[in-house]
């Protein structure tokens, strides 16, 4: 359990915006252990998807650029690899599923051939064998009558079934790491529950690690072992799931948890995090969350906080981490 599968160190990704190089991910460091599910949460525009794309080296260059950092996958630096080598990693060792099952499948090919394509690309086998494996995987991910469905085109399937096909493609080469970028956001709650359970079961069966990107704190609480909270391109807090929910230390995490309506308790008024997520080209000085924070003072406005270790791998990017209770939170 303790061994690291992926180590991201000091990652910085920039995008050119109107001719200006704007950092959208800064000083991001985290690791994913073997067999663990790491949740990456944050609001839109916080840099979650860019981080995951950087791991897959899918940042379009230009306008994007991985400006700094290391991404070690089983000890090898992915950022130093040649494109040819990277192609062998992509889809084989690291697989990805996206939010939109509608747009991430090719409408001109049958589902079966899209799964078989991935198998043929990374394994030495005949087309016949690849097709048979594709049907087998469809069965594994719970698609009813897989032989028939393998010959269906994506438009003939429902959203939930398409997402199952996406998972089938991702799992076809037994990846070590599955990156799931908002895998259930486009699905209904009862189907969402089915898909999340499927990802969890597959993870157990295939011994893989999962990087689960979501904005839903409920999904995080039920599916992740550890959580990294992102805001404006930085990780503000990272800890195991029980610490994040039971003993959060960053004002943003605390606010986020108070701002969501709960199913099991009714509050009169939801907590407001005032203002909105800043744009990347107009980030505030000092702490990026400062202008929206109830505890912001002069130090926060002037000096950008570093990640502080609170023990047990609980890292917090706040000057007053651990001292917030004294300040009335």
């Amino acid at each position: 359990m303790s061994e690291q599968l992926v180590e991201v160190k000091d990652l910085k990704v920039t995008y050119y915006q109107n001719g200006v190089e704007t950092p959208v991910v800064r000083n991001v460091s985290f690791e994913i252990k073997k067999n663990e599910t790491l949740g990456l949460v944050g609001e839109s525009g916080s840099g979650k998807s860019v981080t995951s794309k950087a791991i897959m080296r899918l940042i379009a260059e230009p306008p994007g650029k991985i400006a700094n950092g290391e991404i070690l996958f089983e000890g090898k630096n992915l950022l130093k690899m040649k494109e040819k080598q990277m192609q062998k990693v992509r889809g084989k060792d690291i697989a990805m599923i996206f939010q939109e099952p509608m747009t991430s499948l090719n409408p001109l090919y049958t589902c079966g051939s899209q799964i078989a394509e991935a198998i043929l690309l990374h394994n030495k086998c005949s087309k016949q064998e690849a097709w048979e494996r594709a049907v087998e995987i469809l069965k594994m991910v719970g698609v009813p009558s897989p032989e028939k469905r393998a010959q269906s085109y994506p438009h003939e399937l429902s959203g939930g079934m398409r997402q199952r096909v996406m998972i089938a493609i991702a799992l076809s080469c037994n990846p070590r790491l599955l990156i799931a970028d908002e895998p259930t956001t486009a699905l209904d709650p009862t189907i969402q529950a089915q898909i999340l359970k499927l990802i969890h079961d597959m993870q157990k069966e295939k011994d893989m690690s999962v990087l689960l990107i979501t904005h839903d704190m409920g999904i995080v609480a039920e599916n992740c072992d550890r959580v990294a909270v992102m805001y404006a391109g930085q990780i503000l807090e990272i800890a195991d799931v029980k610490t994040i929910f039971g003993n959060p230390a960053h004002p943003y995490t605390i606010g986020l948890l108070k701002a969501i309506p709960k199913l099991d308790e009714k509050v009169d008024r939801l907590y407001n995090i005032r203002g909105m997520v800043p744009r990347f080209n107009e980030l505030p000085n000092g702490c990026t969350f400062g202008p929206r924070c109830d505890f912001c003072d002069k130090k926060c406005e002037e000096e950008a906080p570093q990640l502080v270790n609170m023990g047990d791998g609980h890292l917090v990017r706040c000057h007053y981490a651990g001292y917030l209770p004294e300040r009335g939170i």
């Binding site: 939930g160 529950a193 609480a221 929910f245 199913l263 099991d264 009714k266 407001n272």
Partner: protein, 326 residues
């Protein structure tokens, strides 16, 4: 409490056409015999999965679709029977807020023009009072006076949704249909918009029909909740009653499928098999029976009607006691 809106046996089938001569081969039963009331100053939540007909109900109330049969009584007047010109009078009383604040504002109009348009059209105020009213509306939804000359693209999603709310308020409506008003917004911004809607209700006494698929949001904002499945209303109850003692197996499964933001709490999840069936050809009897854990022969043949199981709590199920109270 006084009833503002009474919906009675509302039906809307959309024809499905096929082939070169566009022959009607079937129909999507989007809303099939839906009955409910909305009281004055109340928020009525409408939940269900995509394709269950909740948006169609909202659009029928606004008369954006013509109902096939049934009645929509707004303060006693049946809106479905009115002619186009008679309807004009009621249009301003019922307003809508859509899900996507990026698609529902005209990009070429300034905020001030957007907010003044409805007031001018319905001649609600003399011309010299329009500008002060626009500024008042902006203040009401928490925007600045200076925003009046800006274009929609200059605002963030949450701010745009505030403009949409202000536009709906410009008519002094009695009912606002909120169709997934916060689904496209981030968590922190979502809380701002929900609080705004609640404040406005307290201040102005507006009723909301709150359509959403996020159960937690509906629980937070609604006084009463209706659950729809495949065009049918399957359960209506007061919010706390529904979330704590639901009486329909579908409601129970829907509630248990919502992820809870609490890792210390272990819940027993009821996993629903299969997917929502095709509304063109819904199952016989109870429409939920192919996915229901308790389904028996009676459910396959006989369609359950809404019946009362407690004060203000109706359920369309043959065996509500299997879920209710357990």
């Amino acid at each position: 409490m006084e009833k503002l809106l009474e919906v009675r046996h509302l039906k809307k089938y959309f024809p499905v056409k096929k082939g070169f001569i566009k022959r009607t081969v079937g129909s999507v039963k989007a809303t099939d015999d839906v009955t409910f009331d909305i009281y004055k100053g109340e928020t009525f939540g409408l939940v269900g999965e995509s394709g269950c007909g909740k948006t169609t109900v909202g659009k029928l109330i606004l008369q954006l679709h013509k109902a096939d049969s049934g009645e929509i009584l707004f303060e006693g007047t049946d809106l479905t029977k009115l002619s186009k010109s008679e309807l004009q009078k009621y249009r301003k009383d019922i307003q809508i807020i859509f899900q996507d604040p990026y698609g529902s504002l005209n990009a070429k109009m300034k905020v001030g023009t957007i907010l003044a348009e409805g007031i001018k059209k319905h001649k609600l105020l003399p011309p010299d009072q329009i500008q002060p009213r626009v500024l008042e509306l902006l203040k009401l939804v928490g925007l600045h006076d200076s925003d009046v000359n800006k274009y929609p693209h200059e605002f963030s999603g949450g701010q745009r949704q505030r403009i949409v709310v202000a536009r709906a308020l410009s008519f002094n409506p009695k009912l606002i249909v909120c169709d997934e008003p916060v689904s496209a917004l981030d968590v922190s911004v979502q809380a701002q918009v929900l609080n705004l809607l609640e404040d406005l209700q307290k201040e102005l006494g507006i009723s909301y029909l709150f359509i959403a698929h996020g159960m937690a949001v509906v629980r937070h904002i609604s006084h009463r909740v209706g659950v729809m499945y495949l065009g049918k209303m399957v359960e209506i109850a007061e919010t706390d009653e529904l979330f704590e003692h639901c009486g329909h197996p579908y409601t129970q499964a829907l509630l248990s499928s919502v992820p809870v933001a609490n890792p210390f709490h272990k819940k027993n999840q009821i996993m629903l098999e299969g997917e929502v069936p095709n509304p063109i050809n819904p199952p016989t009897g109870c429409r939920f029976h192919p996915r229901c854990r308790f389904a028996c022969d009676k459910c396959k043949q006989e369609e359950p009607q809404l019946r009362k199981i407690a004060q203000g709590h109706v359920v369309a199920c043959h065996y509500p006691e299997k879920v209710y109270g357990n």
